[in-house]
Symmetry: C2
Subunit: 340 residues, 2 copies
């Protein structure tokens, strides 16, 4: 098991600038799974900044989330100032002896539970999680894109019924095809689903996410957050994004094309794409550490993994200038070990 | 002791509209202690919405708060998505057998602690709080404006040293004259100070506040909030407001005049002002319940108190039209019982 005390998040451009002081600006941040062409934020009406969010508005946002995520009602939804808050809080609010995490995955789960005193076991298959009193699954998974159909996870949750909590993090599900989300199967006792506006909608700074669960569980999650858990602008922007299926469909089409373009660019550089979603691609290569630095010196930040030095995760690119710079930086990669 | 299960917050305009369906619009909301002429929110740069807040930016915000609040360093500050989150969370993260609250005061303290299983004792003097392992003081207090000098609270905290936590809520301190804040005396073991941008700056929807405490306590508060506790816009707006002393001084001057005007308006209506701050005035009258309804029917929402039906709290007014409407509504008040 690895140490959980060193979170290495994406999006650390200021750290990248320290690491690569000679890199050209602007830095291209490919270190996150955040959509580089975000939902266009509308002008914010002044009362959103000034007035305390009214409970009716929060309830309307939660209804909108229920509708967007295929959940039967707003009583199974609670709005969060980002899902990360709940990931950090849950281990402390609901201490567990042992937590099983389908791994490798987003590192904050292991880190938060370990910090709260839980024993963290990292499992590699769904079957190994079956008897764990507390289990965490990211679907689709970050960084490798491994995914399960929602019905598979629902059956898994049903077989576990009565044995603690199953947390399914669907932060990256919005743009994926098929029926990956387990949310439409709610309510199911012990099942908590997390959704986020940070990734597909590209709004990482907004801090808006949702937990979906049985109404009793939702009430238990809601209480410690108090009456104003989310900001006025987050409510207004959330209402708009969640109702806008047209934008989501167009984003999916564009990212499908862009993923194909990125994959072929990576293949041309002799980099094996071993997984991903429409918001990031995972590459495996013995050259990964060298490539990380080469890209960094070219002003391109990708995500490395302390536990898998041969992996790099590439986020999606925005404008054409970014594509050109990545292509140029990759073409300098010595194509050696993978050709052996 | 009263029941803690029915929070009656200010700012519930939608509820007011249901209660007074025939009231003229726009409703004037005097039910909060939020500055009606808020800090002018600058245009938000797109990256504030899209990028995950970088740790360096959060640290810079906390440094700015330390400077504004007279605290020796940013290591004694943690940014919060509103102080209410901590008020709701603390009782659950740090369960206490008994909590003593200087009362009457902001109801969420008693409610949160009771909901978390603590025994809540409401005390009326500082001396009665001296031996409580966990004590809560709002300074200045809401709704009556009772206040202590910061040095008095610091001496009080020192005498308590070693006996649990002392939480001092300074949500309403920014505009007050004198040296009410205990923050400049930090660090002091067990002392936690809360500050907010919701009240003096009029930014209740922004959700930004701070806890100030000894660095060890700050680290303990920070951990369960995760790496992105506040939004990108909250960071940008917070940086600007906290550095802008000119605006704060002008707001204080304007509100000093407005408070005098409101007090004389209330006195003319035979309403005794028994306390308050520059952001709200507390009135005591046997006519309070009738006046609440009369004002409501005139489209003016003030704050009533279930535990003191003879009290009404008036928030501050914005434009001249609001003054005229309040004056007209008050002049219809039958001036009876107070003249006896």
């Amino acid at each position: 098991m690895r140490a959980f005390d060193a979170p290495l998040h994406g999006g650390r451009l200021q750290e990248a600038r320290r690491l690569f002081p000679g890199a050209p600006e602007p830095f291209i941040d490919l270190s996150t799974g955040i959509n580089p062409l975000p939902y266009p934020v509308p002008p914010i009406e002044p009362p959103a900044w000034t007035r305390l969010p009214e409970p009716e508005k929060i309830a309307a946002l939660e209804d909108a989330a229920a509708k967007a995520y295929g959940v039967a009602g707003g009583s199974m939804v609670v709005a969060l100032p980002g899902t990360q808050l709940l990931i950090s809080l849950l281990p402390r609010l609901s201490p567990q002896a042992t937590v099983a995490i389908l791994s490798p995955t987003y590192g904050e789960y292991a880190r938060s539970f370990a910090a709260a005193g839980s024993r963290v076991v990292e499992m590699n298959t769904l079957a190994e999680l079956a008897d764990a009193p507390y289990a965490v699954i990211c679907n689709p998974n970050n960084p490798d894109g491994r995914s399960f159909d929602g019905t598979v996870l629902f059956e898994f949750a049903r077989r576990r019924a009565g044995s603690g909590l199953l947390l399914v993090d669907e932060s990256f599900v919005d743009l994926e095809r098929g029926s990956l989300s387990v949310a439409p199967h709610l309510p199911q006792p012990g099942l908590v689903v997390l959704r986020s506006l940070s990734k597909a909608y590209g709004l990482g700074g907004l801090r808006l996410g949702f937990a979906l669960a049985h109404p009793d569980l939702i009430a238990a999650i809601r209480a410690p957050l108090g009456p104003w858990p989310v900001s006025g602008p987050a409510i207004d922007i959330g209402m708009r994004t969640l109702a806008d299926r047209t934008w989501l469909v167009a984003a999916r089409q564009r990212l499908t094309r862009d993923v194909a373009r990125l994959d072929s660019l990576l293949r041309e550089a002799n980099l094996a794409v071993i997984g991903g979603t429409l918001l990031f691609r995972l590459v495996e290569s013995n050259e990964a550490p060298a490539l990380f630095h080469r890209l960094g010196e070219a002003g391109i930040l990708v995500r490395s993994f302390d536990y898998r030095p041969d992996w790099l995760r590439f986020g999606m690119l925005g404008g054409e200038d970014e594509w050109q710079r990545l292509a140029a930086a990759l073409s300098f990669t010595p194509a050696s070990s993978n050709r052996d």
